[in-house]
């Protein structure tokens, strides 16, 4: 089998396709070739399933480019199917190497069929000569008996024809079918002859091929298998024409022999009967038989006259010589014409009918065998493909820090200790960041990049670590002491309380010690931390309705243990008045902060600006600023969210403590449900990229139960 890759180009490779007559007519050999090609494709598909797609592409392309336009019949009709498949065959065959093409089963079979047909006609011819010369045996003592001649060469043939015709017309009836089946044993004798002849033809042709082509042909599976079978309605077709040719040969032989003998020898014809048959009866019979030609060759030539009939009656008692020689010859043309009319002509007609039948049968072949159906489907089914890329590109944009709009009302503070070894996320290198850091660090606004680099790295740590990972928790000690301070919240989950305590312990005292930047006196964080422990117990912070606080924003100074709360509208919309109390309690549990004022965000820039200006306007009793943000964690963070966080950072000041608490999507009565761990991690991942050291991320309530 040639490489599959070639198959696609097969037809194009050999422009000899035009050798193939551009036709949609099926001939018998075409069926065999078609079978061969279909079989070959099927073998190939079975061998390699990926081949299926290639073949589908090939057949569809052939159909679209070279077949579809040529056929007028609508798709899915038998006419269309037959024509399309025939053209497909033409293209496939046209693409073959001419040497191989001669070996195709079809052409070998055609040649074999021709050989068989010629053989049968010759055989018939010989038989005709034999029978006729036997019947016309004339020794000179007895005239040739016309009756035998007529009976064997005319009556028998007519009966045979009539039987065939009767069988043909009643072929649907069961009785006839079984009878025909018995007779078709003859076809079993005949059929192998075609195959044998075709195989012989193939072998002969193969022998005359150059060795390389021969090898190629041998390598082709199925090409030389010698399998010349036809199925279904086409099965008996190869027999039809050779059978008629045999008959024609027989009759031609008989007629020629008769004529020749009559020409070259003097034959005496006569008739006789032991019955009391009147010559008139014989004459009448002869007249009837001669009806087809008597209008042309009348009495005397085409058939004997009554007198001649009387004169040729053989009576064994009478010697031959008493008869009139002219009378004795009078039957000669009658015999030849009778065989011609009743033997040869019907055979010629049958030959014509056979040719027509073959053609009609072939034209009407349904081609609905499933293998054929598959091919047809490959041709007419549009090749449907879907393509596409991976969908991977740059990650979502992470906004850089903004320059603080105003100086936070907090004591200046040094940049956080250039903590040990946190790797600097690449993102931070943006210029705005470095600008921001220095401002807060030295209050000078000088753009020294060094501190910037120092600041970034550490921040990531606190943001990243989820509350329930105690291992990670202790690390961030220096950075966000204030937030960690309030350990004894009752509402916080047990798991969280422990690490918090540990942190707090570290946070309070150690910060100055641990931070390698002793130059700057400990400022904001520590006071805040110091202040917070006192009010930590839940009791002292009675939840204040958000509405009141909102009004109060900016006016009053914000106590050291209080913060501003920014709520996302999605969450705020769901909150009932008594939910606020719970919210504040939970918040207190996380931060130790009371809520001094609140605003909403997430509803466009106006709302955001309002919130930001509230932060800017706030007077902090114990700077830096403390801002808690409450957001819906079930929605992944988007750039807009991050930008808002940046804006809050800019408004609140570089060291302001930001706490982002997330809630889940409420699906029950609880407007503040826990968040799924998965969503929380998603947020963590995104916030890490902000690289904001003073931004802490928490779940408002513990992680969702089912996520664990």
């Amino acid at each position: 089998m040639e490489p599959a890759v070639h198959t696609g180009r097969e037809p194009a490779a050999h422009p000899s396709a035009d050798l193939e007559p551009d036709t949609t007519r099926w001939r018998l050999p075409d069926l065999l070739d078609f079978d061969y090609y279909v079989d070959r494709d099927e073998q190939r598909m079975r061998g390699d399933p990926a081949e299926r797609k290639r073949l589908a592409e090939r057949d569809r392309r052939l159909y679209r480019e070279r077949i579809a336009a040529e056929i007028r019949a609508p798709e899915h009709t038998p006419a269309h199917r037959s024509a399309a498949l025939r053209r497909w065959l033409g293209i496939r065959r046209g693409g073959e190497d001419p040497a191989i093409r001669a070996l195709l089963p079809g052409s070998a079979f055609a040649r074999g069929q021709r050989l068989v047909a010629i053989g049968l006609s010759v055989l018939g011819f010989m038989a005709g000569i034999g029978v006729a010369s036997a019947l016309l045996q004339y020794e000179g003592d007895q005239p040739v008996n016309v009756s035998w001649y007529v009976f064997v060469l005319v009556i028998l043939q007519v009966l045979l024809l009539a039987g065939t015709a009767a069988a043909w017309y009643s072929r649907r009836s069961r009785a006839v079918q079984t009878a025909v089946q018995d007779l078709s044993l003859i076809s079993h004798l005949l059929k192998p002859m075609f195959g044998a002849a075709a195989r012989w033809v193939q072998r002969q042709r193969l022998a005359h091929l150059p060795p390389d082509v021969r090898e190629q042909a041998k390598a082709r599976q199925g090409l030389l298998s010698g399998h010349f079978a036809l199925y279904g309605p086409a099965a008996y077709l190869p027999m039809l024409i050779p059978a008629q040719l045999f008959g024609i040969g027989f009759n031609v032989g008989a007629i020629l022999t008769t004529v020749a003998l009559e020409w070259f020898t003097d034959l005496a014809f006569g008739w006789g009967s032991a019955l009391d048959v009147q010559p008139g009866t014989i004459h009448a019979l002869a007249h009837i038989i001669a009806l087809p030609w008597s209008w042309l060759l009348g009495e005397g030539t085409g058939l004997p006259t009554l007198e001649q009939v009387q004169g040729t009656r053989i009576s064994l008692k009478d010697p031959l010589f008493i008869m009139d020689a002219a009378h004795l010859r009078s039957w000669r043309w009658f015999l030849a014409l009778a065989v011609f009319t009743y033997g040869l002509l019907p055979r010629l007609v049958l030959l014509g009918v056979s040719v027509l039948t073959v053609r009609r049968t072939l034209a009407a072949l349904p081609f609905t065998h499933q293998r054929t159906q598959a091919l047809y489907a490959r041709m007419i089914t549009p090749q449907l493909e879907t393509a596409g890329g991976s969908g991977h590109g740059p990650e979502m944009p992470i906004p850089g820090p903004l320059t603080p709009k105003n100086v936070p009302r907090a004591a200046p503070r040094a940049e956080p200790p250039p903590a040990a070894t946190t790797p600097a996320p690449p993102k931070q290198a943006q210029p705005p960041t470095s600008a921001a850091t220095p401002t807060s660090a030295a209050r000078t606004g000088g753009g020294s990049p060094a501190p910037a680099a120092g600041t970034k790295p550490r921040p990531t740590a606190p943001t990243r670590q989820p509350p329930q990972r105690p291992a990670a928790a202790p690390e961030p000690k220096g950075r966000a002491p204030a937030e960690k301070a309030p350990q004894p919240q009752p509402s916080a989950p047990a798991a969280r309380a422990k690490p918090a305590a540990g942190e707090a312990a570290q946070a309070k005292a150690p910060p100055p010690a641990s931070s390698p930047t002793p130059a700057t006196p400990p400022q904001a964080p520590e006071p805040a931390a110091a202040g917070s422990p006192a009010p930590t117990p839940p009791a002292p912070t009675p939840p204040v309705p958000a509405g009141d606080l909102r009004r109060a924003r900016g006016e009053a100074a914000i106590a050291p243990d209080a913060c501003l709360l920014l709520m996302h509208v999605d969450v705020a919309d769901m909150l009932e008045p008594d939910d606020h109390a719970r919210l504040q309690q939970l918040l207190h549990g996380h931060s130790g902060w009371r809520v001094a004022g609140s605003a909403t965000f997430g509803g466009g820039s106006a709302m955001a600006n309002q919130a930001l200006s509230m932060i800017e306007a706030a007077e902090w009793q114990a700077p830096p600023a403390r801002v808690a943000l409450l957001s819906d964690g079930s929605q992944p963070p988007i750039t807009e969210t991050l930008r808002f966080l940046r804006a809050v950072r800019a408004a609140a000041g570089e060291h302001a403590q930001l706490l982002l608490v997330l809630v889940g999507d409420p699906d029950g009565d609880d407007p503040l449900p826990p968040l799924a761990e998965f969503d929380f991690q998603d947020w963590q991942h995104k916030l890490e990229q902000l690289g904001d050291p003073y931004l802490r991320l928490e779940m408002l309530a513990g992680p969702a139960e089912e996520a664990e």
């Binding site: 090749q383 449907l384 991976s390 944009p397 999605d570 820039s605 929605q635 999507d665």
Partner: protein, 508 residues
């Protein structure tokens, strides 16, 4: 047309990643290839929808938000011609800003284009620009929202800004969970801004549902009708062809399985005892079973390919993951005893197998048939042996052979299994790869019926036809009329599976 000129500017400058991806004239020109931008905020399931609609299970889908970070085009190509295109976009990153900008520039005839002109270079808006670009180029919009969640501010923002673009638009309520209480609210909200709203579960959508969705796209822009109709037709024909191919595969599997034979020749001297003979028989039975399993796996792979699954594989809980010869499989699939008896009688009681046995012995002319033993306990299926073991002794060797399968039950079980597999393959949405099968509130798979296979519910006539086909296949006969009829039966089962006429038994 001044604005049109501005529309093009950002394209030339800003869209290097998309340059040359598609001749934009193909979109604007009269041939009207429908381009549909799948939009929505991150994690709404846009990629799943695209993957399911285009049967592309190689689209990277990640549960994490914003996995799709670049605009990607998923054309539907019929005979090398793009007939429609889905564009998977990244999620909105700055919806509020876009909306405010749109509202501030309400007099712009082409808002999306104008926005691109203004922000095409801003890295902060790179995702937003990437997703608005197809819209500026004339794409229709399919907004994908997660119907299991409540409507958020951002959703309102996005709906409104998409409405302002003025493009034909449809919304898909992609609800992957069983929370439906927000669905009416979504319907109301979406109906205000969208030409058409459809529910579509990208993880459970069947072929029929996909086609229905494609059909619905016609309603949002009439000019697309011809192309969409062609697409739908092509999908249909392609589907019919896949079913044909699968039928072929199944029929071939049955024929291969029912003619499978395993033979082993052992020298008489090497067989010391009957125990050894038994052991050989057991090994043979095992080898036959293994061969049959392999045939089944091959057929499954073929069917999987027909339905374009590259990623999907069976869940371990499925009946399909159980051993072919396990008790559970045998219990759940195939025919019931009575049905089997009727069908078997029609098929000429091949189940007896006595004739095969006798013929087998005779065919080995010189050999003496010394035993026709049933293949031990290993091969038992429904109380009858899987196949007969034939032992013939000739010239100092014993020839053990087993097969073909004579158990009347086995072909029905095998047929049921492979149809079950096909049912799963054809109804497995391509966008499901990342589905969290363990999520507590995911949509349960389709209804749970009784645990039975497909063949059982066929008519007695069909049972007989199948049994006759199996009997003929066992004898290695090809192209019998029963085969043709059986093919038709299998084909119609598969067809009704894809149109959901028949319970897909997805639970099995």
């Amino acid at each position: 047309m001044a604005s049109a000129g501005r529309v093009q500017m950002p394209r030339r400058q800003g869209s290097s990643e998309r340059a040359g991806a598609r001749p934009r004239h193909a979109v604007d020109a009269a041939d009207q290839v429908p381009v549909l931008a799948i939009m929505g905020h991150p994690n709404a399931g846009k990629s799943s929808v695209v993957a399911t609609l285009t049967e592309n299970d190689r689209i990277a889908i990640d549960k994490r938000a914003g996995t799709t970070t670049t605009t990607d085009e998923y054309p539907v190509i019929i005979d090398g011609r793009t007939v429609m295109m889905f564009v998977d976009t990244p999620g909105f990153q700055n919806p509020s800003d876009i909306l405010e900008w749109f509202q501030a520039h309400a007099d712009e005839p082409d808002l999306a284009g104008a926005f691109l002109a203004a922000y095409g270079d801003d890295p902060m808006f790179s995702h937003d620009c990437a997703l608005l670009r197809p819209v500026a180029d004339g794409a229709g919009i399919i907004l994908v929202v997660d119907g299991s969640k409540r409507i958020k501010e951002k959703d309102r923002t996005e709906m409104e800004l998409l409405r302002l673009t003025g493009r034909p638009r449809m919304a898909i309520l992609n609800n992957l969970s069983k929370f439906t209480k927000h669905m009416p609210a979504w319907q109301d909200a979406l109906n205000k801004s969208f030409n058409s709203v459809r529910e579509f579960n990208a993880h459970r959508a069947t072929y029929a549902e996909r086609l229905a969705l494609l059909g619905a796209l016609k309603t949002i822009d009439q000019r697309w009708e011809p192309m969409l109709e062609e697409t739908i037709r092509a999908f249909r024909e392609d589907w019919a062809r896949r079913i044909e191919q699968s039928t072929d595969t199944i029929v071939q599997l049955m024929k291969d399985a029912l003619t499978k034979r395993v033979t082993r020749v052992v020298k008489v001297d090497d067989i010391a005892s009957d125990d050894q003979r038994d052991a050989i028989q057991r090994q043979l039975t095992e080898a036959l079973q293994q061969a049959l399993r392999q045939l089944e796996v091959d057929a499954q792979q073929a069917i999987r390919r027909h339905f374009r699954h590259n990623v999907w594989d069976l869940p371990p809980t499925s009946l399909l993951a159980k051993d072919l010869f396990s008790e559970e499989v045998e219990e759940a699939l195939g025919l019931r005893q009575r049905q089997l008896a009727i069908a078997g009688a029609a098929a000429g009681a091949v189940s007896g197998g006595a004739i095969d046995l006798g013929v087998g012995g005779l065919s080995f002319g010189t050999g003496a048939l010394i035993g026709g033993l049933v293949g031990g306990a290993l091969g038992v299926l429904g109380g009858a042996a899987l196949a007969k073991v034939d032992i013939q002794r000739t010239l100092g060797v014993e020839r053990f052979s087993i097969g073909p399968v004579t158990n009347p039950r086995f072909p029905f079980v095998l047929l049921d299994r492979i149809i079950l597999y096909a049912a799963r393959a054809m109804n497995w949405a391509h966008g499901r790869q990342a589905a969290d099968e363990a999520a507590p509130n995911r949509v349960p798979d389709r209804e749970l019926g009784r645990k039975r296979g497909f063949t059982e519910s066929l008519s007695a006539e069909d049972h007989r036809t199948l049994a006759r086909f199996f009997a003929a296949a066992r004898k290695g006969k090809d192209d019998t009329p029963h085969e043709e009829k059986s093919r038709e039966i299998i084909n119609s089962i598969l067809r009704s599976l894809s149109t959901s006429d028949v319970n897909t038994r997805i639970h099995l």
